[in-house]
Symmetry: C3
Subunit: 273 residues, 3 copies
């Protein structure tokens, strides 16, 4: 199943419209290219409708949210809905400011989203209305462990059902659920949190996978999450004792570029609940 | 000839004012430094006139065009004209939205440009008024091949004459023409299209070369195009089977840093028509 | 002393609010992570007060200053003052435009800053009111050498006393002074100037060190400057004859990631005046 998802990205080369932050945008563009899809970044309200309609998918990321682009996000989201293009939302830092929380609330009211990806604190902020985010990182008290895994899945399934979207929560254990079926994914490496924007990159990658597999948003999201996590493992194996997070950043994107459908299937480490 | 162009960048260390996109801006700054020139990025309308007048050249790139910076592009362009500084225009994605098309049209009406660099779809959108751009990438139907090369050159020469600028079109074969003399350049590597912003980087590099060789915009542009393409070849040779587009991105800039006038001359692969 | 400063960054993992430029922002985020701190970039006036209050320190960098974020810088600065969080100012290119000069003047009037880091031309522009900046680089006529070192220190001590802040001037020799005690630091490598944003990265790093050591802004700044310079030396030693400024950029951040308190102490090369 994962193989087919990646094959479709490589074969259909979907064009992905990104309205994103200026911190990690270059890595997002390069990881989309590494996957076999193509990125376009455009955020002015005078053109986002046209740009979105040219594309096969939209990724909205509020990492450096500013007043100028909120209207653009809404216009692009609605245009994507009109064209039945998948919409991925990355609510970076939601809960850390009213501005982020209210913008995401409005976006979810006006736009139908296909996938929401965040860390557990961000998803809790969305679902419960009050987050404990530590800036753009998950609060340690929120972390998903083997002990609270069942509870977390139950919570995320309920939220996925409520918003009718695939929910992707990343952390030590990643969970992907559409409210019916849930995947617990144990790929990845702790050092990934020392690279800025691995979450943003994953959201961009989900955009590529879901646009290439529009009828399988759950499976496509799982394939993207496993790709990213397994790339983090493969990249870690290459590091010498002089390499740090900058080289690691490059090797993760390199590993997505070199990923094959077979390699992905073999490296996947998940169970379905 | 190419040797002299690069020597002049290294010797005169021109300061290049860039009004550019937030996706590839860091790579543009580093490739300008790699060439021996210095970059400054500034896009607020309250300072672009002063900044442009401090510099020896201007590069305007509309990759993430937004309403705020259109006025800045026009002010900086006019200031550069007043000071006889070369102006390089990279009309990223022109034809993909009315907003981009109209902005470029206005820029070309109000500012005298020295060089326009784009992919063939972008240049067609400018010349014919209607493009078939696929986002920021060239449309496959537009691609220049050995079969349509003569026809493409005739078309580009006519457009260069009309706008009185050097036209640089990059793709599998690169063409540089001032309307009289045309260079067909066969450096480069297909993998360059898997790195975001190699086109933007080339436009920045052209800015450095043309600013250092203001009386030779055609030859300076050719030297920049050959440098970029040959750097792409040298960088490719270094890749291991684990390296992907992120490492390749770094190696391309590294190769510009290590380029010598002799190496450039020896690696050049072009004919003049 | 330096050891303790780095240990505190690693142990307390301070959250650093950055209002910065879009050229070097990704490297700033990654170097903050490499040091053991965490970055958050947020620049909209609707949220900067909340974001700053969540953090332990603020870094304001005017590299691509624009009208939209000036208010944000002031709000975040005042909020940080209210919470007794350290504020680091990087007045990139001050003196190159009235817009930058006036913005920095206003910031210094309304916000109490803990550290100001710049090249010598920028600090002269601040102190004397008229700079000779060459864009974002120091003017060669301003450079600190062994010959004018005593004179430079006297000048910088007086300015530090006047603004009641730690002044960090980087160049071939780095000077850090609080007006009483001055450190002359001889770490670093000339090739660092061929990487865009090593100055910005250092300012971000100072933010991390000062936030983790709020009672020792002088010593924390020295530790950050030595870390950056020594990282530049260690990174240079790794370069092969094919590597250039892009690989060097990554290796510098890697070296910060791999820096240990012991290594830092051993590699430090400074005298106190």
């Amino acid at each position: 199943m994962l193989q087919k998802m990646l094959e479709n990205v490589r074969m259909t080369n979907p064009l992905i419209h990104n309205i994103t932050n200026y911190v990690t945008v270059n890595d997002c563009a390069n990881i989309i290219l590494a996957s076999g899809a193509s990125p376009i970044m455009a955020d002015d309200k005078n053109e986002v409708s046209e740009i979105s309609s040219l594309c096969q998918g939209l990724v909205v990321n509020i990492g450096t949210l500013n007043s100028r682009t909120i209207a653009s996000m809404l216009i692009a989201g609605k245009e994507s809905n009109k064209n039945n293009h998948p919409v991925v939302l990355d609510p970076v830092g939601v809960g850390a400011s009213k501005f982020r929380t209210e913008t995401v609330k409005q976006f979810l009211e006006e736009v139908t989203v296909t996938v929401i990806r965040g860390n557990i604190s961000e998803i809790k902020a969305l679902a419960v209305g009050k987050g404990r985010a530590r800036g753009v990182d998950a609060n340690i008290a929120d972390q998903i462990t083997e002990d609270n895994l069942s509870e977390a899945i139950t919570f995320l399934k309920a939220y996925a059902e409520k918003v009718r979207a695939v929910i992707v929560v990343t952390g030590a254990i990643d969970i992907v659920t559409d409210g019916q079926t849930s995947y617990c994914i144990r790929n990845g490496h702790p050092m990934m949190s020392s690279v800025t924007g691995t979450g943003c990159q994953l959201s961009a990658l989900i955009g590529a996978f879901v646009a290439a597999n529009p009828d399988y948003p759950l499976e496509a999201s799982v394939a993207a999450v496993v790709s990213m996590g397994y790339a983090g493992q493969l990249a870690f194996e290459r590091l010498t004792d002089k390499d740090g997070n900058a080289t690691y950043r490059n090797y993760i994107i390199d590993a997505i570029y070199r990923m094959t459908p077979d390699l992905l299937e073999k490296g996947a480490h998940y169970d379905i609940r």
